[in-house]
Symmetry: C2
């Protein structure tokens, strides 16, 4: 129960940086022997795989003479390095790179466990999903990806526990995007007192950094669709791809052809006010029924239906009462007829890294 | 990663029965080799520890000639039997017996892991808490007790993840009793439309089986205090005992001396209407501030304060909006300034057993 575990980390963006600072303070942390960013790789020297890279000083570790430095390594080079370590090893992928995600099976078959917030591996073609878990079984390796849905909120673990213990999940519903949560909580609050126009709310959110640099990446619903794909698959549905079910895009049809360049973003923002009337009508339609409009994802397991889009909710419902940019996820099951609800911040470097760190602790506990 | 794991189970009450039916359908289930109820014990015969007891047919397994039958065994006998099994073993304690709970250290030091919904071991004297975790470390055994707070809701695991990854938990607050949740959601709903008197609500809840047979066991606040004790200790506070902080009892002072017999219960219920005016005044006091009254527990980690009792809440707060007999637990941390909230059924055989089964799966994953 206490053989050393070795760790490789790829990615030092917002989540990666927060993760490394959490790793530095983790008791019983695995030995960090590889740290890769786009163009630079740090490694502990073979064959001893020692000294480890100091997580607390990763920024200056490149100056440590005893560490190996190189440019970007290939997947095969990283997998071969990690699998030759004198103990079990874990790769933490803190990127959102689809290419790296599609190579998880290579790592897993070599016995390297994967811990990651990268949605791509679990929400792309069903064949990759199946390959990942078959490869993990083959290599007796572990896969943890809590932060792919709701950041560090206990969403994946809760769903997996329900499924593993034989509960029957009938429905999953929620607000899965911090950005869209903020937009609708601001645009259509329960109090009904917002006078702000839709385009103003989007512009403000962009200004505050609550949206992606190109807000269309939030408004197209694909991020939510990827999260739904992951949950639906865990619940037992064979979702072929993240676009194989209805996704209601909030990008007006007339603006769909704008290029995905910075200039296209600017044109999109400039023309968005033309569609304020449409959004106001939707909002008022809800109000007439005493409800509010929210952008949600839902999975009906029995009917095998996955949907992403706008929906009306009672003003005293948990979804309507959401604040700020919080996520909320409700699980309806045979055991939980009154839903099991998880709610809280679903985006941000620290809370996303929290999910990665918590997964890492669990993986280390099982491997050591 | 696949040595057999052996399982002993004590208790076949509501939770125990639900657990056994979940166990029977668990893939990769450990081998059930001991099943004990108050006056009867079933065991797989030594030295082979085979055949296993069929979890699905535990009620009739006593007629299986190949199994050993005896009366109640002592703690030492059970510990010695389990620790001699040809693999790692786990004891699931599905009782609420304080004596069994106080003997967890004996099992743990022998390397037997503990999985339990029994609050007693974790909420009694601080010395027992310390002994349990020191013994677990000594015996390299595991301790999982998710269902001691909020039944199967992911409360303990969420808090342990936050603490393990170095987050700073500043405050925990919530409704921790399904019974008291029901009583106050009914007595003082947000709509303000309940005309029911306090004593009527209590009587109705008793009739529906939502309270303990003696409702005073809910109204005295001790069950909530025990749960708070557990959470506070995980969050790092050295709470000496479950009564070493302020607990507001809902048993009127004048009725405190009634005997804890069935007759005492009857007298209590008969005299409770005398105090309806007091409870109505509290309810109206909240309403005058535009709030509702709820029975909550809270932990202020910085101030080292634990409190259990009545508190006023804004009508649009998550606690006020609770429905039925749901629990809600909010974690405020350095990372989660907008709280991480877990909500849902916090009582009942099936959901309590769910937490036990999920813990068992995790323990098996680490031991095999």
């Amino acid at each position: 129960m206490s053989s050393p575990v070795y760790l490789g980390v790829i990615g030092v963006g917002g989540v990666g940086t927060a993760f490394l600072s959490q790793l530095a303070r983790l008791p019983n942390a695995p030995k960090l022997i590889l740290l890769a960013r786009s163009s630079q790789t740090l490694q502990s020297p073979t064959p001893a795989y020692s000294p480890a890279i100091p997580a607390a000083e990763w920024k200056t570790a490149v100056e440590t003479p005893s560490l190996m430095k190189s440019g970007a390594l290939s997947v095969d080079e990283i997998a071969s390095y990690l699998s030759s370590a004198p103990g079990r090893s874990i790769l933490v992928d803190n990127t959102s790179d689809p290419a790296l995600a599609s190579s998880y099976p290579i790592f897993l078959r070599k016995g390297i466990s994967i811990v990651t917030p990268n949605k791509k591996g679990f929400s792309s073609d069903l064949s990759l999903w199946k390959d990942i878990f078959a490869s993990a079984a083959e290599g007796k390796a572990l896969v943890y990806h809590e932060s792919t849905v709701g950041a560090g909120l206990p969403v994946i673990s809760t769903l997996r526990d329900l499924v593993a213990t034989g509960d029957e999940v009938t429905r999953i519903e929620g607000v899965f995007s911090g950005t869209l949560s903020f937009l609708f909580n601001t645009f259509a609050p329960v109090s009904g007192l917002s006078g702000a126009k839709w385009s103003e709310v989007v512009a403000k959110a962009k200004e505050l950094g609550y949206t992606e640099p190109d807000p269309r990446d939030d408004l197209n619903g694909m991020d939510v669709a990827r999260k739904l794909t992951i949950l639906a698959r865990i619940a037992g549905l064979e979702v072929q791809a993240p676009d194989s079910f209805p996704i209601e895009s909030l990008i007006p049809k007339e603006l769909e052809s704008l290029p995905s360049t910075a200039e296209g973003t600017a044109q999109f923002m400039a023309r968005l006010p033309e569609f304020d009337g449409q959004m106001a009508a939707i909002k008022e339609g809800a109000e007439k029924q005493g409800k509010v409009v929210r952008y949600v994802g839902s999975i009906d397991v029995g009917k095998k239906e996955v949907r992403v889009g706008l929906q009306y909710f009672d003003q005293d419902s948990a979804i309507a009462g959401l604040k700020g940019s919080d996520n909320i996820i409700s699980f309806y099951t045979k055991r939980y007829t009154s839903p099991l609800i998880v709610q809280g911040a679903g985006a941000g470097g620290d809370v996303t890294a929290h999910g990665v760190s918590a997964d890492l602790v669990k993986a280390v506990e099982r491997l050591q």
